[in-house]
Amino acid sequence: MTGKKEAVQALWTYVVLLVLLLIAVGLRMFYLGLIESLLLLLIAAIEAVIVLLFFMQVRASGRLIWLFAGGGFLWLSILLVFVISDYISRSWWR
């Protein structure tokens, strides 16, 4: 990607991230319980994906980089999904 294209993309990425931040902070004012929590986590995930694809340039990278970048998140998802599902499904431990 040329420098100029990269600069324009970075500016757009920044604007979108700021808008998402404002939405997230705004959401905190409402008591929506579980829905609010899920929405906040969803916004965080979207922000992270935007940073990953555009700031970290994964979108413009080749398949090898997708593999390397995806590897860390794959292991993280195994860790999170297996442990959290264990705790959520156990009723006797409390």
Partner: protein, 215 residues
């Protein structure tokens, strides 16, 4: 500028392979960092699930305004870092150095604000250990929230501090002409690290400040 200014090391067949290897290398490091912060985030999630009420009370003690401000500052530093990579490719040497220094300055402002927050937490008696003071119920669980808060934000701040040091080195290398529009990978690689530190903060801000609190 001709392509012969790009430095090709002998064990690579061409410059593209060399650049891709650099990116893959930093991603292996970032993967290890994902597991490091992931384990902390997992521990926090499990305890948040177990002690929801106490963790909500803890979250309400944090300064959301300063937390949100810091998030905005980190996003801005992400922008200046990306712009530095872009202007470096355009051959604008001094603008690149300026943007790198701006990134460092924003990182430093983040750390100062974090320091103000830590001071606020300390004076409110929220630092875990003997100094911890909690008048409400669930004191041990609230203390656990603050223990995880200080560990996670502390390690994040440490990563940011390392990032500032690395960017200063890159700025110096740009100044000396070692990093330029044909040999840009050192700047790109440090950029990936810096953006990763941004990404960690997105989750820390959401989990610690936003979940279960009120403005």
């Amino acid at each position: 500028m001709s392509n012969n200014r790009a430095i090709l090391y002998e064990h690579f067949s061409d410059i593209e392979q060399q650049r891709e290897t650099s990116t893959a290398g930093i991603w292996v490091f970032v993967a290890s960092e994902i597991m490091f912060f992931g384990a902390l985030i997992l521990a926090f999630s499990v305890y948040r699930f177990s002690y929801t009420q106490a963790f909500n009370e803890g979250a309400q003690e944090l300064n959301v305004v300063l937390g949100a401000l810091n998030t905005g500052i980190l996003f801005t530093s992400g922008l200046t870092m990306s712009l530095a990579a872009a202007t470096n490719k355009m051959g604008a040497k001094f603008l690149t150095i300026l943007l790198l220094l701006a990134t460092c300055a924003l990182g430093a402002v983040f750390l100062v604000i974090k320091g103000i927050e830590y001071h606020e937490d300390w004076t409110k008696g929220l630092f875990p250990g003997e100094a911890f003071h909690w008048s409400g119920s669930n004191s041990p669980q609230v203390q656990l929230f603050f223990l995880l808060y200080f560990i996670m934000t502390g390690f994040h701040a440490l990563h940011l501090l390392v990032g500032i040091g690395l960017i200063l080195v890159i700025a110096w290398l740009v100044l000396r002409g070692w990093v330029h529009e044909e040999h840009f990978m050192p700047l790109e690689v440090i950029g990936i690290y810096w953006h990763f530190v941004d990404m960690v903060w997105i989750f820390l801000f959401t989990l610690l400040y936003l979940l279960g609190g009120k403005v």
